[in-house]
């Protein structure tokens, strides 16, 4: 009764959870464009999209992807054999246990009329499948906790997934072991199936019990080894009459049997403490919790990941309906298993060692994007962290190529980046070659130029002197600390050699581009060198010239005095950004 109620409660939560999670695919929005489509439109577009694929030649692609990527998981195999072994063990082992063992009354019993869980091959197979899952969990623990893989992040959800699987498997094995050794269980079975009564057939039971202690691992308080062959023969006779049909030898249940051997010393105590029942409850409750929580845990990927693989196999950015792409991108968030393949292959992940922002790592970006998509209120700092993490991406596409569940991560980053930039926070990485790809992808409209202007403004805003129209230089503005910083650097201290010949500004192609360069660029290269010499930090850091520098090194190459002009501009840019970052967030005008 209790069992049935909790099963139905778990099933109900599981079912509602599935419906809820699937509904978010059509309700949540990622990026700039998706708000345009109502949930209803997205559902109907999805249905027509799926139908048009199913009734076209693309069905062949779907079948191929289903076999190769979903069933055989070749994408994981391409990455790493050990991880493929881990996943295939867990997923195949658990799936077979579910079908043969957990759903025995629905599947195995109707299929095999002679099915008993204690008869081979079923008894052996149950332990074999269990062993597969346990090997998988073992590799997972090795990978997550023993191998120190740099930048591989393990979070609470990864812990949960490993723990719930481990509890289900270990409780199952111990349940089997305590049932093998249990004397109580033996007595119940004798009464129910051998038709013997404890009072009237004491001798016969004793013989049977001796046989079961010797051959089947029961730990008995009544009989002890060694036994007379006569008694054993008698026991064997009763066994063959009443028990043999339903019981293969317990050694076949190798996990349970070896555990039974290990616990044999304490088996009597465990049996008295009613351990088989306790473990039975534990085993089932762990299963029910796993089932009920599945839609809300990373285990939900067992539904979302195959869908992601299939959807990405038949969808194309230009050709597919934008409403369907919006839906797919939300679904992809659920498909992510936090396996960190993306992070381990990421071209930019190395920057995490110097910028303490986990959003640089693709696997962690996904977690932040989940919060964004769910409409969670995020602070300015959190939003800017996500923005920085997403911008610090070289758009090399490796994450998308390697993702084992086929998530189009590159598109996801691009989409989220544009929607974050719209919020108007400056993004310093926008003033770097990281913007090259954004330039290639640009579409008409204000949204493209604004973040670039905002960022320049945020930097210039810090440089008061720069704002003065006629720069009469009050010498009080000399910043000796700034000069000190420049002097410490081997390349920056070359500014002291500058004698103002203006060669750098003369050869600069950027300066040459303008009729009135000072108006556009602020200070020209030779003037910036002068500002460094005078310790006028505001002037050195606030000029547009810094961000319009091509880094073509013409100035540095041609300087007669060996001033590292380009390298100094690099250092000034570092310094300018550092200065704005240091300013408390609250003070800044957005």
């Amino acid at each position: 009764m209790f069992f049935t109620i909790s099963l139905y409660v778990a099933l109900a939560i599981f079912g509602l959870g599935l419906v809820y999670k699937a509904s978010t695919w059509f309700r949540f929005n990622i990026g700039v464009e998706t708000g345009k489509f109502s949930a209803q439109t997205r559902v109907s577009k999805a249905i027509s999209g799926i139908a048009s694929v199913l009734f076209s030649v693309k069905i062949l692609t779907l079948i191929k992807v289903f076999v190769v990527d979903v069933v055989l998981q070749v994408r994981i195999l391409r990455q790493d054999f050990l991880r493929w072994l881990m996943h295939i063990c867990i997923y195949l082992g658990f799936m077979l246990l579910l079908l043969m063992h957990a759903l025995e009354s629905f599947i195995t019993e109707p299929l095999f009329t002679d099915y008993y869980s204690t008869v081979n091959p079923f008894m052996f197979l149950r332990d074999l499948f269990g062993l597969m899952v346990i090997i998988g969990i073992g590799i997972a623990i090795l990978r997550r906790f023993i191998f120190k893989v740099p930048r591989l992040k393990t979070n609470a959800m990864d812990h949960y997934a490993i723990i719930i699987l481990a509890v289900i498997m270990i409780s199952g094995v111990f349940l089997e072991a305590t049932k093998i050794t249990s004397h109580t269980e033996f007595q119940v079975m004798v009464e129910d199936y051998a038709g013997l009564s404890l009072e009237d057939d004491a001798e016969e039971i004793k013989a049977l019990e001796s046989y079961w202690v010797k051959e089947y691992g029961v730990i008995s308080p009544n009989v002890k080894k060694p036994f007379d062959t006569e008694i054993l023969d008698q026991g064997k006779e009763s066994h063959e009459m009443s028990c043999a049909e339903c019981h293969s030898r317990p050694q076949w249940a190798f996990l349970g049997y070896s555990t039974a051997k290990i616990i044999s010393a304490v088996a009597l105590g465990l049996d008295k403490a009613n351990m088989p029942t306790i473990l039975w409850y534990l085993h089932f409750f762990a299963c029910f919790i796993g089932l009920a929580y599945l839609p809300f845990s990373k285990m939900f990927h067992i539904f979302a990941s195959p869908l992601s693989l299939l959807a990405n196999a038949v969808m194309e950015k230009e050709k597919s309906d934008p409403a369907n792409i919006a839906t797919r991108q939300v679904m992809e968030l659920d498909a992510c298993t936090h396996c960190c393949t993306c992070t381990l292959n990421c071209s930019a992940a190395v920057f995490f060692e110097t910028f303490p922002n986990t959003n640089i790592l693709p696997s962690e970006k996904i977690i932040s994007i989940k919060a964004l998509a769910a409409g969670k209120e995020l602070s300015e700092q959190e939003l800017r962290h996500i923005q920085e993490g997403i911008y610090l991406c070289t758009n090399c596409n490796r994450c998308t190529v390697v993702c084992p569940v086929g998530i189009n991560l590159q598109d996801l980053w691009f989409n989220v980046r544009e929607s974050l930039l719209k919020k108007g926070y400056p993004e310093f990485f926008a003033l770097s070659p990281l913007s090259f790809y954004r330039g290639l992808m640009k579409e008409d409209g204000d949204n493209y130029q604004k973040p670039l202007d905002k960022t320049r403004e945020a930097i210039a805003d810090r440089c008061e002197l720069m704002k003065m129209p006629d720069k009469v230089l009050p010498l009080s503005n000399i910043d000796s600390a700034f000069k000190g910083i420049l002097n410490q650097s081997d390349q920056a201290n070359t500014f002291s050699g500058c004698f103002g010949c203006e060669t750098c500004s003369t050869v600069c192609p950027v300066v040459a581009n303008y009729d009135n360069p000072k108006e556009v660029l602020g200070l020209l290269p030779h003037q910036i060198m002068n500002a460094c010499g005078l310790g006028l930090k505001d002037l050195a850091l606030g000029s547009n010239m810094l961000w319009d520098c091509l880094t073509c090194y013409q100035c540095q190459e041609q300087c007669p005095q060996g001033v590292c002009v380009t390298d100094i501009l690099y250092e000034l840019k570092n310094e300018a950004v550092e200065q704005v970052k240091e300013k408390p967030l609250m003070e800044r005008k957005l």
Binding site: A348, E353, T354, S432, Y437, N513, Y570
Partner: protein, 298 residues
Amino acid sequence: MRFALFLGCNIPARLNQYESSARAVLKKVDVDLVDIKEFNCCGYPVRNLDHQAFVLASARNLALAAKENLNVISLCKCCYGSLKKADHLMKEDASLRVEINKILSKEGLQYDGDIQVKHFLSVLFHEVGIETIKEKIDKTFTDLNIATHYGCHVLRPSKIVQFDDPVAPSIFDKLVEVTGAKSIDWSMKLDCCGAPLWGVNDDLSMNLTEKKLENGKKSGADFLCTACPYCQMQFDTVQNTILSIRGTNHQLPSLLYPQLLGLSMGIEKDLLGLKMNDLPIEGIEDFFTNLEQKEMEA
């Protein structure tokens, strides 16, 4: 001859024809390439913001190659410039070296300046040699005028990159002329392509690109030739954008050096990816037939 191939980020994502054509050409001249899967960004894009992050990224790549005891060949000039700069700093700046190696040691890596970084063109010119390349040439171009674009980050700062004479470089021209094409003189040959500012200041970037294209065209070039993904994308994809935004009329298509050399070596066109460029370059094959026609006429 074996090298660790450093592809960088742009080529695998957006310029597959550069990878496939360069591999095909290098195979033809017996240069073995080793792929190191763990390579990351060279650090060039973050130099504006954080010097240490840039050196770390480059040094990690150098350390990975050093672990395999391999010199690095780079197809990208910006990657090349960054790797060379980091290599120089790791040798010269002891305190930076200690700092960077401390971070690298977390994954069992270390770099003490024990390998060499080469660009694709310098490997062909100095390691393989013009004579060897000539032996592999199948057919030569006639009357084909090529404007070589050297690219800033291999030429300057010359003390660090040590690619060629920074004022009068010649190796690229000699490599082009192996194919029978003529490398023309043009005044803006050594100027920047404009790519570093694409996405940052598009107007300025387009101005610089346009000036170069105009200069090349006026100097009689039929095609530009590059050996860097940034320069190539600027002269191909961005030029395409300029043509549509500004409606200018001095189209000068650009092709990658291994595409040019590969054609001359008779390498399969699919490997050279001629069709993958945005601006059509297939017309270049007409310069082969000229010779036959001339012979016929003669």
